[in-house]
Symmetry: C2
């Protein structure tokens, strides 16, 4: 009784990659987006043109703006959307999902599942939830046209957790056939606190803010933007993240080791423990330019749905996070958004007022 039918919610880079990849591999895929104009080119083309890990034109069984039609009876509902869309999707799904219908946040970043669950319940959903998540997308991918996507690879060794955590074996068995590269994590706190994008994207953006704005990102983000000084700030953000994890007894691995495990840098750079060097020596990121604007997911997502929930978990655990706090403040001023109010607060995570012990019980049993 494995998965046959997948509802993919979201038709951006990740959603189209998932629809094409899973469709090519024989799953019945329904692809949903709210924006009809986004889906129109797929209808005209009769599917999604894919290259990379799959090849060719992949027909999609259902391409729709009707959420109910997309999710009804699906064996898994996979949200492949920006974190900011989790809450509206939860409100829309609350009246229409079946009890225990599996939900997969791909990705959940830091606290995505907790946020989604809290929003479902606030929308009146009272039955059991079975959700799961990875910290980043299961694909390295980029759309190359309105109906074509290049899926460079599957993300390797991607940590996977369930919410509530007690269902992790069942959820892992369910999703593993879709994504054999996932590895089981102890809880959504482990996946969430393993969000390395949140550790190094915000310092890279804030400490190059003038360069990005003035030159429209015309420099190499990893090779040139993560200098020694930026690397020292990244290292301190990482130390605070590890301290929060330790206070909550959540397994966590230093940034530089995760970066290396993900195949993003050399053995020598890892052994140097120098983050600037690890980024400079990142062959897969060698040609990636900086974003052309600060108004970008490296800030919106990695601060609001990365650093903010890390700082908030620190607050819950009684661990100070001054460097993370500094970046949240400056990022907010830089782009004119109060991330401390708009990001994933304990309130939005459904964790307000909980003690560390209550938090640990909650992620296990909800």
């Amino acid at each position: 009784m494995g998965i046959k039918t997948v509802a993919v919610l979201g038709a951006g880079h990740g959603g189209c990659a998932a629809a094409a990849d899973l469709g090519r591999r024989g799953y019945s895929v329904r692809l949903h987006a709210y924006n009809a104009a986004r889906l129109e080119p797929l209808r005209e083309r009769g599917g999604i043109e894919v290259r990379g890990v799959q090849q060719g034109l992949v027909p999609i069984d259902l391409v729709t703006t009707d959420l109910n039609a997309a999710v009804r009876g699906a064996d898994v509902i996979m949200l492949v959307v920006p974190s900011i869309a989790h809450e509206p999707y939860a409100r829309a799904l609350a009246p229409i999902i079946d009890e225990g219908q599996p939900i997969f946040l791909n990705p959940g970043h830091t606290g995505g599942g907790l946020h989604f669950l809290h929003a479902l319940r606030r929308a009146g959903y009272r039955r059991h939830v079975m959700s799961c998540e990875t910290v980043t997308l299961t694909y390295i991918t980029r759309m190359e046209g309105p109906a074509s996507v290049n899926v460079y690879s599957y993300t390797s060794r991607l940590r996977f957790a369930a919410l509530p955590g007690r269902h992790v074996d069942a959820m892992f068995a369910l999703i593993k056939p879709l994504y054999p590269n996932i590895v089981q994590a102890s809880s959504v706190l482990e996946t969430g606190l393993g969000n390395i994008n949140a550790v190094f994207h915000p310092p890279g953006m804030i400490m190059n803010a003038g360069w990005i704005e003035r030159r429209h990102g015309d420099f190499l983000f990893y090779r040139e933007g993560i200098t020694e000084a930026v690397g020292r700030v990244v290292a301190q953000v990482d130390a605070e993240r590890l301290a929060v994890a330790q206070a909550l007894s959540v397994p966590a691995v230093p940034f530089i080791d995760m970066f290396h495990q993900a195949g993003l840098t050399t053995d020598a750079a890892r052994d140097s423990r120098n983050i600037a060097r690890a980024c400079e020596d990142s062959e897969p990121n060698r040609t990636i330019k900086a974003p052309p604007l600060l108004d970008h997911r490296y800030i919106h997502e990695d601060v609001g749905y990365g650093l903010v929930p890390m700082a908030e978990l620190g607050r819950l655990a009684g661990v100070a996070t001054p460097t993370i706090d500094a970046l949240i403040s400056l990022a907010g001023l830089a782009v004119g958004i109060d991330y401390r109010a708009e990001g994933l607060t304990l309130e939005r995570l459904g964790l307000a007022g909980k003690s560390p012990a209550e938090l640990m019980r909650f992620v296990e049993t909800c």
Copy 2:
């Protein structure tokens, strides 16, 4: 009984400018530096070659590494040294200055006089002190060789205060003939909280840290480095500075108006209230490049002896300074210095444990 003899302590850009300018104008100048190698070229040349507001070779009456010889009987002792040198100079001067011998910190940045006084007293000096200070140097100047200096201009409308403040009329009358551009301020808190370099240099450095390190400062600091996002952070630093001043009933003027009053930007830019635009439109700063390294006074001085004492005065006044705090944290990580410990704390300012009312009395009467 005006000033005839000036002891200039420090033989860098500012010290050489002061020695040459005042020497040319007929004052008897003694020039002191601890580093004999710094003075050797001046001895060989028989003085300082000056151009700009003065011209020609200016002989200096005494060029010495002997502090006692430099200051004995001088009508004013002018410290033209980095803030970090105030404390060692105070220790060295404590046993040798006369009671009430005028001391002029040129410049004092934020809290220089308080720091100097506290260090004098810790070194055992128990008599009356007569010190005064400006927030920045009285010259716009740059050395062009080991014995030659270009004095572009005198700094205009420079706020001047005395410590203790009750002597301000006497001190102002004493120094005004040397520097007619000074204007009297209510206290060293007004000069110190009017430190606009501390308001915009640190955001400009931190938010361009990668650019500076990677390109060795090869961009225009004011015209290119202070973008809209950087300007928004500068504006928030400025708002916090003004809030601290207001809580202490210290007169303070917004950054953009001070920048305009100093002749650094256009009427239109001032009226726009847009700091990025004011910096872009700064004609005098048009060609100034960024520093080649983060290891520079734009951080060391403007954070440690600018933002730190502002944050500390905020703490004393009960005013939160989260943006200033954020910049102090990131600057410290960027250059590997704990400015919260090394900079001008309330302890180093001699203000530990004082209430706002006690602070106001202290700057008046010490």
